[in-house]
Symmetry: C2
Subunit: 116 residues, 2 copies
DNA sequence: CCCCAATATTGATAATCATCAATGTATAAG
DNA sequence: CTTATACATTGATGATTATCAATATTGGGG
């Protein structure tokens, strides 16, 4: 049975750094960029904002085409991008599709910036 | 458009809300999208990460063209976008240009998500 | 002054994207 | 079954973007 070194291992080259990740890998960066790509459009930011501001916590497409000055297919397209980015959740009830914020998704995205 | 079922408790709907902004205006959204546009590229995320990970807190262009598989003009272009977004600071000393994180910029960007 | 190294800018090109018109799909009502 | 409504998908188009090659600019020696 070997004993643990009493002092810090002097041979370790990374003994004093706060040990953040050395850098962002190519694949990791590509993955994180996907979320920011979804946020990199003014109309998509407004969609998130409207859904978030709604008292019921969810909005249907017909409630979203009005505030934005966009056609219905364009709004559907943006909503799909937000769903694929993991920011919105889609639930179909009857003829309507209700979109709501994925709980914690915005906070998790904010966390991505801290762990760059 | 559609009628919502009135099943909610309906107690204290106005008195307890934190009174966040009702929604995001078009101009405000356009402004916020600019920052996320700058973050919506894998190579720019890696640039930020490398600058942040550097022990000295700053990196010159010659330190950034290696890790990324990009030419020098492309790296300069990305750095310019990050500077214009208010995320990086540029300081020229001699022939070299040193880039460093703008203090608090990442945290402030994270805050944008909370105030959507 | 001339030359070299580090970085920035310009111009061109291919790829991605936002938008709309037209069409497709599913569900509810009659 | 037929029709209408809510939403999604497709195809096309104009705009934006990422990248590189070539060139310009800046600053430091000789």
């Amino acid at each position: 049975m070997n004993l643990l070194p009493v002092l810090e291992p002097a041979t370790d080259e990374a003994c004093c750094t706060p040990a953040g990740p050395p850098a962002l890998g190519a694949e990791e960066a590509k993955q994180k960029a996907l979320v920011f790509k979804a946020l990199a459009d003014p109309n998509r930011l407004r969609l998130l904002s409207i859904v978030k501001a709604d008292a019921s916590g969810e909005s249907c497409v017909c409630d979203l085409t009005g505030p934005l000055d966009l056609g219905q297919p364009t709004v559907s397209h943006h909503l799909k991008i937000l769903v694929e980015a993991g920011l919105l959740h889609r639930e179909k009830r009857g003829t309507w599709a209700y979109y709501s914020l994925v709980p914690g998704a915005l906070e998790q995205t904010a966390g991505l910036l801290a762990t760059l």
